[in-house]
């Protein structure tokens, strides 16, 4: 599936404007972005549920007109944030899509039961939606989508309303089935951890436009804009200039004149971001090595919990650097506020984002 120059306009406002978006078979494509960014609208446009300008190609054919959109919806499936089960039994819910495709009731029920078994909810076949837990209902919704053997599965924040353990087991089950059957998925989320956990590719959308698209790890390691870096949880941003060093290696010169080794980046003015998980805190000054080339001496300014880890803010040479440490490391290093500490990181951990540029890399 390829979308080109896709544009969704409602009430004179452009909600989505995407130059190109490709869904490749067997991959999970994550649409990541803040609330109201246009992710769900793009998903619906790809699924033929939302009228859009531009061209949408599916299996080599242009999707144009109501008939083609219906044909597209019958080769794909969708799971929404809420299960949206029909007010009938779970089995009937799962069989509904098959019935719409012309399958006889008896056969549809048999196939639907197999799908329920696949999702471990065969025992809920006769249950009505009102008597299901949130996790069971979403499992039924996923079974209903998978039973039609879709080429592409569209998922709009499918785990948003589930508790963490349910979310984890359902995500694992879903990814296993997608992988087993080679089904491509377009997965909308605003949860960066979920994006990294499920996505082969990540497309970051902001104000209806693609900011960056690429392999998930690449997008997370090298965000193209400050807003994406901020969204990804990075809080160390250093102003400076990328220059070529004497040996040809790249240096990032901070505004105070201090030079740091940095990863690949165009020369010129930039804002360098530093993922906190890539910063190592040390209480002794380390010997400079090829691995941890950058070392900044400073003091602990603040310590806050961040999930199961602790986020330590270090003030160093007038700058602020964030680092994630385990509770054990925190205690071992005695990182109380005001304690002297060295923040060390690899050259490749420092990622300069060119100023006033917005990069869009195709997936």
């Amino acid at each position: 599936m390829v979308a080109r120059d896709l544009r969704v306009v409602r009430g004179g406002h452009t909600l989505v404007r995407v130059h190109r978006f490709e869904v490749r078979s067997g991959l999970v494509h994550v649409l990541l972005g803040p609330n109201g960014a246009g992710k769900s609208t793009l998903l619906k446009a790809l699924n033929g549920l939302e009228q859009a300008d531009g061209t949408l190609e599916f299996e080599g054919r242009a999707v144009k007109g109501n008939g083609a959109r219906l044909a597209l919806r019958r080769r794909t499936a969708a799971v929404a944030q809420k299960p949206y089960l029909l007010s009938t039994s779970v089995l009937n819910n799962v069989a509904t899509g098959l019935r719409y495709r012309g399958m006889q009731r008896r056969e549809a029920n048999a196939v639907a039961l197999e799908a329920l078994k696949l999702l471990d909810i065969a025992h809920l076949a006769a249950r009505k939606p009102g008597r299901l837990s949130g996790g069971e209902a979403q499992r039924a919704s996923i079974a209903r989508a998978l039973v039609c053997d879709p080429v592409v599965l569209f998922l709009d924040e499918p785990m948003a309303f589930l508790d963490p353990p349910t979310r984890r087991t359902l995500t694992d089950d879903l990814l296993r089935i997608l992988d087993l059957r080679g089904i491509a998925a377009v997965w909308v989320t605003h949860d960066r951890d979920e994006a990294l956990a499920v996505g082969d590719t990540v497309t970051f959308i902001e104000r209806g436009e693609v900011v960056q698209s690429g392999a998930a790890l690449e997008v997370f390691a090298r965000p193209a804009t400050e807003s994406l870096a901020t969204f990804l949880g990075l809080d160390t941003f250093l102003e400076g200039t990328v220059i070529a060093g004497p040996g040809g290696d790249l240096r990032f010169v901070l505004q105070n004149g201090r030079e740091l080794w940095c990863g690949e980046a165009p020369l010129g003015h930039a804002v360098a971001c530093l993922p906190p998980e890539n910063v190592v805190l040390l209480t002794t000054t380390p010997e400079r090595s090829m691995s941890l080339r950058n070392v900044l001496q400073g003091t602990v300014e603040d310590v806050r919990p961040d999930g199961r880890l602790l986020r330590v803010s270090v003030t160093t040479e007038g700058l602020k650097v964030g680092a994630l440490v385990t509770k054990a490391a925190f205690e071992e290093l005695d990182l109380r506020v005001g304690a002297p500490v060295a923040a060390a990181f690899k050259a490749t951990a420092l990622h300069p984002i060119p100023r006033h540029e917005r990069a869009e890399r195709s997936a």
Binding site: R73, A78, L86, S87, T88, G97, F154
Partner: protein, 233 residues
């Protein structure tokens, strides 16, 4: 007080004695109101659905029209139908005035906006996400329409109950266009008016009891179906 007791006694005698006139009036009431309701449902549900699911210019005006129609006094509907069906009216050549068909037409006009308006309201309240999910399941337009009607079936039954209550109990329109002719166009409500006017309270009370039992019985049956539908939701 004695009059009321006599009335009740006479009513029971008429009802359980199988009085031919009472039976005929009751069956005519059911026929006129039942047929009118059937036509109103056949026309009103799709019309209300169309208005609910489509956006077009003048939609608000149509919705306002339907809502006004829901509150239209039967006597005004009767007047309009009589004007159209009278010998010199636009539809005078069909000679329908003072026939049960004229009564059916008047009651369709009373029931239609109730069915259409309540269907419209129920469909509008249906979650947009559910509508999109039905489409995403691969439903054609007709399949999606049927699925949505199934989802609002409890509300649709409420619409049918409200419309039935309105037509079975209205008196203004049926008298105006049917003429309240004994043995031909007289229904329960018209008969109650006439029997009361001439002082035959016992017959009037008997007819009133039948009318109440009919209304109660029909609504009870529909309520049972409705609640069964609600439980299965």
């Amino acid at each position: 007080m004695q009059v009321i007791w006599d009335g009740v006694r006479e009513a029971l005698r008429l009802i359980f004695g199988g009085d031919a006139d009472v039976l005929q009036i009751t069956l005519r009431s059911l026929w006129v109101s039942g047929l009118a309701l059937l036509i109103a449902v056949i026309l009103g549900v799709p019309f209300g659905s169309l208005i609910a699911l489509r956006s077009f210019s003048g939609r608000r005006l149509v919705v306002t029209g339907i809502n006004t129609g829901m509150a239209a006094p039967p006597v005004v509907v009767g007047l309009l139908v009589a004007m159209f069906l009278t010998r010199n009216g636009p539809l005078g050549q069909f000679r329908l005035l003072y026939s049960t068909w004229a009564m059916v037409i008047a009651q369709v006009i009373i029931a239609f906006p109730i069915v259409a308006g309540l269907s419209l309201a129920a469909l509008q309240q249906l979650d947009v996400g559910l509508r999109q999910q039905i489409a995403a399941l691969g439903a054609s337009r007709l399949q999606a329409f049927i699925a949505q009607l199934r989802e609002i079936r409890v509300a649709l039954l409420a619409a049918v109950m409200a419309a039935f209550g309105a037509v079975i109990s209205e008196v203004g329109a049926v008298i105006m266009v049917g003429g309240n002719i004994k043995g031909q166009t007289q229904v329960l409500t018209g008969a109650i008016v006439q029997e009361t006017r001439i002082g035959r309270f016992a017959v009037a009370i008997a007819l009133a009891i039948i009318l109440m039992v009919l209304a109660f019985g029909t609504n009870l049956a529909l309520t049972l179906i409705q609640q069964k539908g609600r439980q299965s939701a």
